[in-house]
């Protein structure tokens, strides 16, 4: 197992390095840069020499390769550089904005899982066939719902029409309700689709017929036989959906005017704040890699066939 772990962590490191390098090259290739955007502003009244001085202090005009090696060395030592726009270290920006986004994403994901599982279970065990087939069509409705539209719709309904959640100065939990819903619904759709499909597939397996022949009821079969088998492929999708979660968080935060990584990303892109963007890319990649590593390590927990890596016979 440890050999497997080392291999997986090595792979993760390669992915992170690749993400860093690609984003570095792409960001360098953009015309203009953050220094020009900030200091060329006529209101500041800076002369060309002063700007040249500033450029020199940021080492903005040294050869690309030197800049790249610097950036790598800095990242490895935990120094993500300075945000040109905010004038503070990038790490400060991240530390200030990470917690709300992590909360939003975690709650959104949990709710998505709950919604997906509920839909799937009702689609199998629902007492009426119209209910079961209704549950089956819900995911395709959800998956085609754009996040920004859903957010605005939810604000309209819950804040303006029903006045359940105040628009101005909501409590900390109240403020989270609508964004979490907005984030969770589009994520829940593919999860539910995959889960329903897997449940259908497992239900046709001969071991299900054997379980039924033992006298097991439908719900016994679902919980004791189908669940564990159907969760396996769904896990993979859950890992991949994490990327969507981050993207969704950016839009959701913008719609609801929340502080968080979404807002930071939006501003950094607008201002070409390369150091911040670079850190965001590496952070997202790291989060993605960690989540998928966890998923991979969870597989053997669910499936005994994957437990004995070494001794397999050809």
């Amino acid at each position: 197992m440890s050999k497997y772990m080392i291999g997986r962590i090595g792979q993760a490191a390669v992915v992170l390095w690749a993400a860093f390098t690609v984003s570095f090259v792409l960001l360098q290739a953009l015309p203009g840069d953050a220094i020009l955007i900030k200091f060329l502003n006529p209101e500041l009244g800076l002369g060309p020499e002063q700007i040249a001085d500033i450029r020199a202090s940021y080492a903005a005009d040294s050869p690309i390769l030197t800049q790249y090696l610097h950036a790598v060395a800095n990242f490895l030592s935990g120094n993500f550089g300075y945000s040109v726009q905010a004038g503070v270290p990038v790490s400060d920006v991240l530390i200030a904005n990470l917690p709300p986004t992590v909360w939003l994403a975690t709650l959104g994901f949990l709710l998505a899982v709950i919604v997906a599982v509920t839909l799937s279970v009702v689609s199998v065990l629902g007492p009426f066939s119209w209910l079961r087939s209704a549950m089956r069509s819900v995911p395709s409705l959800f998956v085609s719902t754009p996040v920004f539209w859903l957010g605005i719709l939810l604000i309209q309904i819950f804040s303006f029409q029903l006045k359940l959640i105040p628009v101005i100065n909501p409590g900390p939990w109240q403020a989270l309700v609508l964004p979490v819903l907005t984030l969770a619904i589009p994520i829940s759709a593919p999860l539910a689709q995959i889960l329903m499909r897997n449940i259908d597939d497992v239900l046709t397996e001969p071991f299900i017929a054997v379980a039924r022949a033992k006298g097991a009821s439908r719900s016994w079969v679902l919980w004791k036989h189908v669940a564990k088998n159907a969760v396996l492929p769904t896990l993979t999708i859950a890992g991949i959906l994490f990327g969507e979660l981050l993207a969704g968080a950016v839009v959701t935060e913008a719609v609801f005017g929340l502080n968080g990584i979404g807002g930071v990303t939006q501003r950094a892109v607008g201002n070409q704040d390369i150091a911040v963007l670079q850190a965001l890319v590496v952070f997202s990649a790291a989060a993605f890699v960690v989540i998928n590593l966890v998923v991979d390590l969870l597989y053997p927990v669910f499936d005994p066939r994957l437990r004995h890596k070494g001794g397999a016979l050809a």
Partner: protein, 565 residues
């Protein structure tokens, strides 16, 4: 287990059948409307009796069994008739009511042991489950009973087995586990749906013996569903022959075998390889081959594989196999799964380099061929695979499938290609109308004919038939075997026939190699090997062929028909 040795517990019990099916009609709702698959079936099963439903795929035998236990597919429904269990009609019961008798009064031994156990639960858990569902005792009692059951069905180290997962057990062991589940609550009726079709022949015999033993011990009745007339003849007191959802005839096994009343049963009996006369299909003896040379010579073939993940460790799949095949004759390689028979075939075609040994096909040393020479050599030798469903590209038309090999070799004009394809199609007995169809529109037998046509189009000299008839129903199997024989004589083909089925081998092959764990334990003419097998293993294989009830041990008279008429 003939009917005379059956002990009927009491007259009272004997009067009420365990199972009484009357006037049963079952239909499926599909895309094309409602399809009736079982028409007015009626039969009884009495306590302690074995009744076999025999039929080919699509005959409705499995649907009938599913209807009895209330486990029809979602789109299936019982339209009329009754299913009485110990005198109570259960055909109108809800699933919830049926749950109370399934497992307890009536249980199931399924077809495929490999996929019939939940891969993520331990063996002990799955055996114990049936006891837990029916609230049999507390956890400690259940654990003890599970071990007792596992030991009873002949599994060694029950404590270890209970903790293992299905993938750690062989197919035969898994079927024993499933039998343990089926007998756990000593039901009145066990439905055994093709219980041994997925197993090797020696394992098959042991499993059927076990079911027999347990049946006698508990006085359980068995409804055996099988396509194998040999198995049914060996094991059942009474036979029900089904075709197209209708009972063709039913009655005591001996009577049906001795004097079948329906045309279909006669056909079935004639086509069943294990019941048919032992003679080679058409031509007599191997005299004709004598003056011809050898098409295939295999000398001391050894094939090692490196064990995945291991460093220097290797696994010897084939260990010193040697045989010669005369041009125009058929050599069979017989063995169970893992015996090395398919590996041997793959080496002969040149799909892999042997570790050592010599293989000469039509004068060409296969082991030295590489690159284009190997590719050209493939014109000489062609393969027909077991599974006619997986070996044809579902997106190609039959024409494209048969034509494809031509495109890989010398270029010939379109017209000529089309002509060749038509000629071959006629040869294998398919109508021209199938040319534009996709494989899914064909039956299993038709698909296998297409696969044979594809193999023939390059005018090969040698054809390797890898379990080429194993997946087919007996009547279709018999047709394909006749076709192969015809083609062999007309085109002077040499066959290498890979099979696990000794009865079929006896019918088609001139010479035979018996492989066991990679070693060749017997080789010679079919006649010699069947009459005087050199190894215990071959003797065991021959004894395990189903359909020998009544024939005396060493004298292998495979023809039950001949013996009883």
């Amino acid at each position: 287990m003939s009917s005379t040795t059956n002990h009927i517990p009491s007259l009272e019990a004997a009067r009420i059948p365990v199972l009484e099916v009357g006037n049963l009609c079952v239909s499926y709702k599909g895309h094309g409307g409602i399809q009736k698959v079982v028409h007015n079936i009626a039969f009884d099963v009495h306590p302690g009796e074995v009744v076999a439903i025999v039929g080919e795929s699509g005959s409705g035998k499995t649907t009938t069994a599913q209807a009895v236990i209330g486990l029809l597919a979602e789109n299936g429904s019982v339209d009329s008739g009754f299913v009485k269990l110990n005198g109570t009609d259960i055909s109108g019961w809800s699933q919830r009511q049926l749950d109370t008798i399934r497992g307890g009064k009536i249980s199931l031994i399924p077809q495929d042991p490999v996929s019939s156990l939940n891969p993520v639960k331990t063996i002990g858990d799955q055996v114990g489950e049936i006891l837990r569902i029916h609230r049999w005792g507390n956890q400690r009692e259940i654990d003890a009973r599970v071990l007792e059951l596992l030991a009873r069905v002949g599994l060694s180290q029950p404590e270890l087995r209970a903790k293992q997962y299905p993938h750690e057990l062989s197919g035969g062991m898994r079927q024993r586990v499933l039998i343990a589940i089926a007998v756990a609550l000593q039901p009145a009726l066990i439905i055994a749906d093709e219980p041994t079709s997925a197993l090797d022949v020696t394992v098959q015999k042991r499993i059927l013996d076990l079911i027999d033993e347990l049946r006698r011990e508990n006085g359980t009745a068995v409804l055996l569903v099988t396509h194998d007339l040999g198995v049914a003849a060996d094991r059942a007191n009474r036979l029900i022959v089904m075709k197209d959802g209708r009972v063709q005839e039913q009655g005591p096994t001996e009577e049906i075998l001795a004097s079948p009343k329906s045309e279909y049963t006669r056909q079935l009996l004639a086509d069943a390889p294990s019941l048919r006369g032992a003679q080679r299909l058409s031509r007599g003896g191997g005299v004709r081959h004598e003056e011809q040379g050898d098409a295939i010579v295999v000398e001391n073939l050894i094939q090692d594989f490196s064990v995945r993940g291991g460093t220097q460790e290797t696994f010897r799949a084939v260990d010193g196999v040697s045989f010669k095949v005369r041009r125009g004759s058929t050599h069979a390689i017989v063995g169970e799964s893992g015996s090395g028979k398919t590996t041997t075939a793959r080496s002969v075609v040149g799909f892999q380099k042997p570790t050592s040994g010599r293989i000469v096909v039509e004068g060409v040393d296969v082991t030295t061929l590489r690159g284009d020479a190997l590719r050209q050599f493939r014109q000489t030798i062609q393969l027909v695979y077991q599974n006619p469903f997986g070996s044809l590209d579902p997106l190609q038309t039959v024409f494209q499938i048969i034509e494809e090999p031509l495109l890989n070799f010398e270029r010939i004009p379109r017209e000529e290609r089309a002509q060749k394809v038509r000629r071959i199609l006629e040869r294998v007995g398919l109508p021209e109308a199938v040319l534009e169809r996709k494989p899914r529109a064909l039956s299993g037998g038709q698909r296998q004919r297409v696969a044979i046509a594809r193999a023939l189009i390059l005018n090969p000299k040698v054809i390797i038939l890898d379990e080429a008839v194993s997946a087919l129903d007996v009547t279709v199997q018999a047709q394909i075997l006749r076709l192969l024989d015809e083609l062999q004589q007309a085109l002077d083909l040499t066959y290498l026939f890979i099979s696990h089925d000794l009865a079929v081998v006896r019918q088609i092959a001139d010479t035979v190699s018996v492989l066991h764990n990679g070693r060749q334990v017997d080789v010679g003419t079919v006649e010699e090997v069947f009459r005087r097998p050199k190894s215990d293993y071959t003797r065991e294989l021959i004894k395990a062929i189903p359909g020998q009830r009544g024939s005396a041990g060493s004298d292998i008279s495979l023809s039950l028909l001949g013996a009883s008429s």
